[in-house]
């Protein structure tokens, strides 16, 4: 750590080399810790702010939805699908539980017990986040127009580039007609 040039220029200085080492190490440590301390708030300010974090849950009245219909609401800036499935759509989803699925899940794992008609999903394609259109595709569930992902009536990925099923958010039924998401 001791710079020989400095000591050579001042051979009779008699300075204790360990003091210079200490100053070097202290200065470098202060620069490293100080640099990290300054960088921290500048990186952290990029993360979601307090007001964004506060808008985390939303309630919805299900009586507005007819069978076979889907509503799209805004949840955390993303679309949220609430779909009132018909019996035929539920049957189609259950029938494929044993099919070869890229992201295997049974239909029962994707809705609340006894509420098979209600499917609540985050409406962002798990590929690159486009909003899939309802009722389209080879499986009559959803079809993503951006890169051609096909989802079935349970929101499971069946064909295309998306790696996983449409995400089921955290939600609860407050009553038979009211659901709270988030």
């Amino acid at each position: 750590m001791v710079d020989p040039a400095v000591n050579a220029a001042n051979p009779s200085g008699g300075e204790d080399p360990s003091r210079r080492d200490f100053i070097h190490i202290a200065a470098i440590s202060a620069a490293a810790v100080g640099g990290a301390a300054v960088a921290w708030p500048f990186i952290a300010q990029m993360n979601p702010s307090a007001d964004t974090m506060a808008l985390a849950s939303v309630e919805y009245d299900l009586t507005k939805i007819e069978p076979g219909m889907q509503v799209t609401i805004n949840w955390r800036g993303k679309p949220l699908f609430i779909r009132y499935r018909t019996q035929a759509q539920i049957d189609a989803a259950v029938k494929d539980d044993g099919a070869s699925l890229p992201d295997p899940q049974t239909d029962a794992e994707r809705h609340k017990e006894g509420k098979a008609q209600w499917l609540v999903l985050v409406g962002s394609c798990t590929h690159l986040g486009c909003v899939p259109t309802v009722g389209g595709g080879d499986y009559q569930g959803w079809f993503c127009p951006c890169h051609g992902s096909h989802y079935d009536t349970s929101g499971r990925i069946r064909k295309g580039p998306a790696p996983t099923n449409l995400v089921v958010p955290e939600y609860a039924f407050l009553s038979d007609t009211k659901v709270k998401i988030g």
């Binding site: 990029m46 993360n47 979601p48 964004t52 409406g123 690159l128 486009c130 909003v131």
Partner: protein, 428 residues
Amino acid sequence: MSGHSTYQPKNAFSRWMDARLPVGRLVWDSFVDYPTPRNLNYWYTFGGILSLCLGVQIITGIVLAMHYTPSAAGAFNSVEHIMRNVNYGWLIRYMHSNGASMFFIAVYLHMFRGLYYGSYKAPREVLWILGCVIYLLMMATAFMGYVLPWGQMSFHGAVVITNLLGAFPIVGETITTLLWGGFAVDEPTLKRFFSLHYLLPFVIAGVVILHVWALHVVGQNNPTGVDPKSKADTVPFTPYATVKDGFAMSVFLILFATFVFYMPNALGHADNYIPADPLVTPAHIVPEWYFLPFYAILRAVPDKLMGVLAMFGAIGCLFALPWLDTSKVKSMRYRPQAQLYFVIFVATCWILGVAGGKLPDDHVIPHLSTFTFIDADLNSYVWLSRVATLYYFAYFLVVMPVLGLIEKPRPVPETISSPVLGDSDKKD
């Protein structure tokens, strides 16, 4: 490269200044007396044109920022305000939006020029890599600029591109949340994109200075790929290069003006005149034309992470190019086989660009269904993209290293001036 400075201050002030801050000397040595190879053709004028493009984008951009509102509620309306109310706002915005496309036309020609004449080969590796860095910065700047009008294409383009980073395992989601400043593309995203869109052009300008500096250290390449050996091989930058660059700029500006005045929206997308709606994705989402080849590569790969890696890898190949090309001969003028592969490569980039603008399942030859091969009809753009993607990578990873070792190039002239001065038995 220029060696001894020939600058002579002409009056008392310039002598006074030269002893304190020799700016005049720097300009004289770099852009007046600077020796350039005597055989530069018009493909060598795009460097000057690109400086002009950067200047146009910065000046028009500064003006637009005076009238623009970077907020999710106000952005779209402020752009309409610029178009309808601000004096000559329509002109300045069309110059800026078409200017981005012109910038990319010029940079692609500049890059193909470098590729053909071997301008990335020793000792110009750092010069080439700085150019690649500028290209990356240009792509980031253009992408963020396209988000600012907050139309449907702006919004959903931003969603798709930022989600690309989410493909990386473990850290992906953390990165996208950090980038968005929320759980989706929203107000915070727009604001930071505006801030960075304003910053990056000045970063580009800084790297351009390094790029020109590196150019002036190693000297310009030229169509023969043979470095100048004597004064007979060079001409002074002014008037020869300045006038040639000036003429090329004038022609380029005519093309630019044609777009601005006669078809200002030809390179854009109508859906971007619809205000952003996070709940509805446009039926056919495409990036701006200059990203289409990379978009086609992304979609050609059926796996999400591998697709993203292939897309970034396509740009990564450019950085590695100086070490992938094993040929001892710089210029493809003397490499007939390399010329063939180069022409196929240019065509491949074009095909990828076309395929990137179509739906993956669209038929290449209309009304003809062939058979399903693995996961899609063989007569589909997704398969065309796959074949083209394969060639794109093969060009860099197979053709470049192997061809340089096995091909027999034509004889290369001793000096730049020897073929010009009629040493006819040497020529070709």
